[in-house]
């Protein structure tokens, strides 16, 4: 089929041709849909760069799954499902990374905290920069070696929230520390 004929073909027809490995069919499908998918992903991840990376993953997945596509069904919803699943995978991956980071920070016992952070909190000068509940949570964790359950009881919140307060507080202190080093 000539390129012009292909350009006039429907998405479903192009997918049939693409299934046997025709790169021109891929090119046309990419030109037709990449813009919309990029906008969709950019709205979801709030980053143009990440959206571009994910856009590649969408078309990569489409390529690997093209033999599963049934051309009796419309193409656009199928493509949308792929784009959404790529975004969800991305969210899950980021959540795992975030949870890991949280776990790593909150697993630190006061004696295992980096010395500069202890110094900073001892001086109270930097601790004062934290919001009230974070300051209290970090203080209890660092000076009193309180458990998250104890911090939660004191602050009338859940242990999970107490863990987050400590984590956020420590992160802010680490950021202050970073700036001070510079």
């Amino acid at each position: 089929m000539a390129n012009n004929d292909l350009k006039n073909s429907s998405d479903e027809e192009l997918m049939e041709i693409y299934k046997v490995g025709d790169s021109i069919a891929f090119e046309i499908l990419f030109a037709r849909h990449s813009g919309r998918i990029q906008v969709y992903l950019a709205r979801k991840v709030f980053s143009q760069r990440e959206a571009q990376d994910l856009l590649q993953e969408v078309f990569f997945k489409l390529h690997r799954s093209r033999h599963l596509y049934d051309s009796a069904l419309p193409f656009s919803p199928w493509l949308f499902s792929i784009a959404r699943s790529i975004w969800l995978d991305h969210v899950k991956k980021r959540k795992i990374e975030k949870d890991y980071e949280l776990e790593r920070i909150t697993a630190l016992t006061p004696s295992a905290l980096p010395t500069p952070i202890v110094e900073l909190t001892n001086g109270n000068e930097f601790l004062e920069r934290l919001p009230e509940n974070q300051k209290e949570a970090v203080g209890m964790r660092v000076f009193d070696e309180a458990t998250f359950e104890e911090i939660a009881t004191k602050l009338s919140t859940s242990p999970e929230n107490a863990r987050q307060l400590v984590s956020r507080g420590l992160k802010k202190l680490k950021a202050v520390l970073g700036k001070r080093k510079d």
Partner: protein
């Protein structure tokens, strides 16, 4: 975060359909990266396969001598077993199958699915060329090639190449997510 119902799916899909992509600028870099990943250059892939074949083909001589070439001086060889059980002609055919099969099986560890797909597009041509080059190399290293046996050998090599590429591709496409 799966869809709770059809309405939710429809709502999000409608939003997706209504996106005005007019201002969206997809950079050439994105397209070029993707294209290189999905449709790798057949020459580069061929180069990789030839590299694998040079190493694997040479090492395979330790297990299955070809045309009397036995650089590792091994006492046992599949050739002897093929010869004893199936006769000289079938032995040549099976030696060709084995020689090409080992290359493509091991090439699976180096090639992506898309590269394997590229090999598959030219599988007859590629196996024939690699087979002929191998025969030339055997001759160069002192093998005494007889036309009938060489023909049987290359037929075996092409058949072995075809089935290994097809089998590997179908297996990886359906069962392996990499």
């Amino acid at each position: 975060m799966a869809f709770r119902d059809k309405d939710e799916w429809l709502k999000e899909y409608t939003e997706f359909s209504q996106i005005d992509a007019g201002n969206a600028e997809v950079t050439d870099g994105v397209y070029n990266n993707l294209r290189a990943r999905l449709f790798p250059s057949p020459w580069l892939v061929f180069g990789k396969v030839v590299g694998v074949h040079a190493v694997v083909g040479y090492l395979s001589l330790a297990v299955c001598n070809q045309f009397g070439l036995n650089p590792f001086q091994t006492e046992q060889s599949l050739t002897g077993w093929f010869m004893k059980t199936a006769g000289h002609n079938i032995c040549m055919l099976l030696c060709g199958v084995f020689f090409m099969m080992t290359t493509y099986l091991l090439a699976n560890f180096l090639l992506t699915l898309e590269e394997l797909e590229s090999v598959r597009r030219h599988e007859w041509l590629q196996s024939s060329v690699i087979g002929l080059v191998s025969l030339a190399a055997f001759h160069f290293f002192g093998a005494d090639l007889v036309a009938t046996f060489a023909l049987l050998w290359i037929t075996g090599a092409v058949i072995g190449g075809f089935f290994t590429i097809e089998g590997s591709y179908q297996f990886r496409k359906n069962f392996v997510r990499s």
